[in-house]
């Protein structure tokens, strides 16, 4: 049985939890002979087992998100793709708009437009990746309990 505590970031897995055997571990049992103390004991075991099986996997996902360095690089890659996709889409839209106005760019105008477009795209790409990196790192740190440092006033 896979240990529910097995972290996703390469650390050696912890031993799997094995509840101690009991003659009757069903806390819902209304069979005769189960004392109140036995009932409470079984309820405690049942709650712990339920926590292990139901909720620990989600804690592991949170831990993985906070400690996986690829989360940051993936966020930066997605941000760059968003900017690239937006510029690709907008290029076609702008050409269509110019055609709708009956305008045609001369060679010089096209060159100037391409140059400014390239600069804008590069700046937006860098800004997007920096924003994605900073916000993802801050999010990871907040999960670990470290507040985002505030620089300046």
């Amino acid at each position: 049985m896979n240990s529910p505590f097995a972290p996703g970031f390469g650390a050696p897995p912890l031993p799997s939890y094995q509840p101690p055997p009991a003659a009757n571990t069903d806390p819902m049992s209304l069979g005769s002979g189960m004392s109140a103390s036995d009932t409470f004991a079984n309820l405690t075991r049942s709650q712990w087992a339920n926590y292990i099986t139901q909720w620990v996997p989600y804690e592991n996902k949170l831990i993985d998100y906070a400690t996986d360095p690829t989360v940051v690089s993936k966020a930066m890659q997605d941000a760059s793709q968003n900017v690239t996709g937006a510029f690709d889409r907008q290029g076609a839209a702008t050409e269509e708009r110019l055609r709708g106005l009956g305008l045609t760019l001369s060679a010089d105008e096209q060159h100037a437009s391409n140059r400014s477009l390239g600069i804008a795209k590069s700046l937006a790409d860098v800004n997007a990746q920096n924003t994605a990196r900073d916000q993802t790192l801050a999010r990871q740190q907040s999960i670990l309990g470290n507040p985002t440092p505030v620089i300046g006033g």
Partner: protein, 217 residues
């Protein structure tokens, strides 16, 4: 526990407590745990790359920018017509420049939407783990916030782009009654759109973007 004859026997109250505890756990497992499990699955599903929530957020960014910049382009054309610069190089470069501005706004808007989705995912997971610890938690919906943010930012960027385009074509001094209510300050100033950002004008739109983009979750 009561004592008698060397034996410790359970009291009726202890047995009642045990019955109640058993019933409460059963009630939780029957009524509430399925709801919590569905909530957890919803959090995980919403975080998927092609999830409905992420697609909708990205789509709203694109739509909001299209709407805002369509109005800005109309304003640019009207200004060019009124000032007699239709078909000039300045108008052409203003159109292409506004296209670049729209691409920047859309791209960065999608990045903000993705980050808001990640915030919602982490908040949701945090709520789930808190529920698992028996603590009361609240889940923050990041998608709704980022949807409103994208509309406001799109309008602010469109306003800034139009002001820059007018400035580049040297048309500002020759504008006579455009009818679009172009202004440079005050709440609700700028090209009217679907989402007016109070207190934002064309000159400080970028500053607002930087503030909102970094803290808009």
């Amino acid at each position: 526990m009561s004592k008698g004859g060397g034996q410790v026997q359970e009291t009726a109250q202890q047995r009642a407590f045990a019955d109640v505890a058993r019933a409460r756990l059963q009630d939780f497992q029957v009524r509430w745990q399925p709801v919590l499990q569905n909530f957890a699955k919803g959090v995980l599903n919403a975080n998927e790359a092609g999830s409905f929530q992420r697609k909708r957020a990205a789509g709203m960014v694109t739509t909001d920018n299209d709407v805002a910049y369509a109005k800005a382009n109309e304003g640019l054309t009207d200004v060019a017509a009124q000032t007699g610069t239709l078909g000039s190089s300045r108008q052409k470069l203003a159109v292409t420049g506004m296209g670049a501005d729209q691409a920047v706004s859309t791209g960065l808007g999608k990045v903000a939407a993705a980050q808001a989705g990640d915030n919602a995912y982490v908040s949701g997971l945090g709520a789930v783990t808190a529920l698992g610890r028996g603590e009361k938690a609240t889940a923050v919906s990041g998608m709704a916030q980022e949807a409103a943010l994208s509309g406001q930012q799109a309008q602010a960027d469109a306003d800034a782009s139009l002001q820059n385009a007018i400035g580049n074509t040297s048309l500002a001094s020759r504008i006579i009654g455009t009818g679009f209510g172009l202004s440079t300050g005050g709440p609700g100033g700028g090209v009217p759109g679907t989402n007016d950002l109070p207190g934002v004008n064309g000159t400080n739109a970028m500053d607002q973007w930087l503030k909102l983009g970094k803290g808009g979750d």
